[in-house]
Symmetry: C2
Subunit: 166 residues, 2 copies
DNA sequence: TTGGAATGTCAACAAGGCTGACGTAAATTG
DNA sequence: CAATTTACGTCAGCCTTGTTGACATTCCAA
């Protein structure tokens, strides 16, 4: 692999070794990424699945079950089990769709918002520390690489949400 | 939050909104990150847990069970279930430790290496495409942010491995 | 009015985590 | 040398969160 001089810009960052480091970085970082919410959830009757549901309902209030299914990429049976406990515990409420009455528009209750806040405060705190430490340039690169790593359909989901409410 | 002029360098990248985007980027990107190996594994009797074991055994040939436990962060019962199937299927072999006979040194067999190659080729291909698309600057930032996001102990694991065999 | 869409639900199952308890061989230490 | 600790394996049982398949309800739309 003698590609050191491919025009001027080094391609050393594309070696298998560098890629392997990137892979392991993703692995270890994701553990950190989920660690704080996991700690909060443990003990309560909830898990990561509940966190995800709560996050995206908070993110797009009034979203439908079908929407959530598309974003989370699980079966409706699986999601339903989670949603049911959230209804029962009064964290989420479902209002019958105004336009299409088959749909349920999902909203967090005050209690749900409280938990959401606790979870996302913890997760953001870690993210903020990492961002601050790495600096704005690095953050931009971080986002670029992650975006390029997504499946095209997921990227659309992400970008659809991305400009949500700035 | 009127912090636009905090000395000159903008802190806009630390807003809750930007952090939320980073969080969702991690979520969606991780799905992409695991998608290709998952596809290969499905159908075989293996899952993501087997992939992780295979990856780190390949990464550090001769590593011990205890080492693997520390890196993967699971219980020995859980790891053992996975290792047992890998032994039985002849993908991994355990040699009694030369120095300390209580330890088992884990190695991939030829068959194990073949699967490892298939899995990591797929994962690296996606990583390579993302890296190439984002460029070396972005990759550097990507790695910086991920590293800052890890738990300190995990970061040590990562860095310990990082310079492994350059 | 009829087909398809959006949703809920029951049942059964699998992967992959977990805890607790126990066993065995080998190293270490008093 | 005896006692303890370490490294590992294993049995049993539990939980979360994913899956498939089947079926019911409600309601929109052609």
């Amino acid at each position: 692999m003698a590609e050191n001089a491919t025009g001027g810009e080094s391609l050393l960052y594309l070696t298998d070794e560098q890629l392997r480091k990137g892979i392991e970085a993703m692995f270890f970082a994701y553990r950190g990424f989920t660690a704080d919410p996991d700690r909060i959830l443990e003990g309560m009757d909830y898990g990561r699945a509940h966190h995800r549901a709560i996050h995206f309902i908070h993110r797009s209030p009034g979203t439908t079950v079908g929407n959530l299914l598309a974003i989370l990429g699980v079966t409706k049976q699986s999601l339903n089990r989670v949603l049911r406990t959230l209804f029962d515990d009064g964290l989420v409420e479902a209002r019958v769709g105004r336009k299409d009455k088959r749909e349920r528009n999902l909203h967090l209750t005050e209690k749900g918002r409280a938990l959401e806040r606790a979870l996302s405060d913890a997760q953001r705190a870690r993210m903020r520390a990492a961002y601050r430490q790495a600096g704005p340039q690095a953050v931009q690169g971080f986002r670029q690489v992650l975006e390029a790593m997504m499946d095209p359909e997921l990227r659309r989901q992400y970008q659809g949400l991305k400009e949500g409410r700035e």
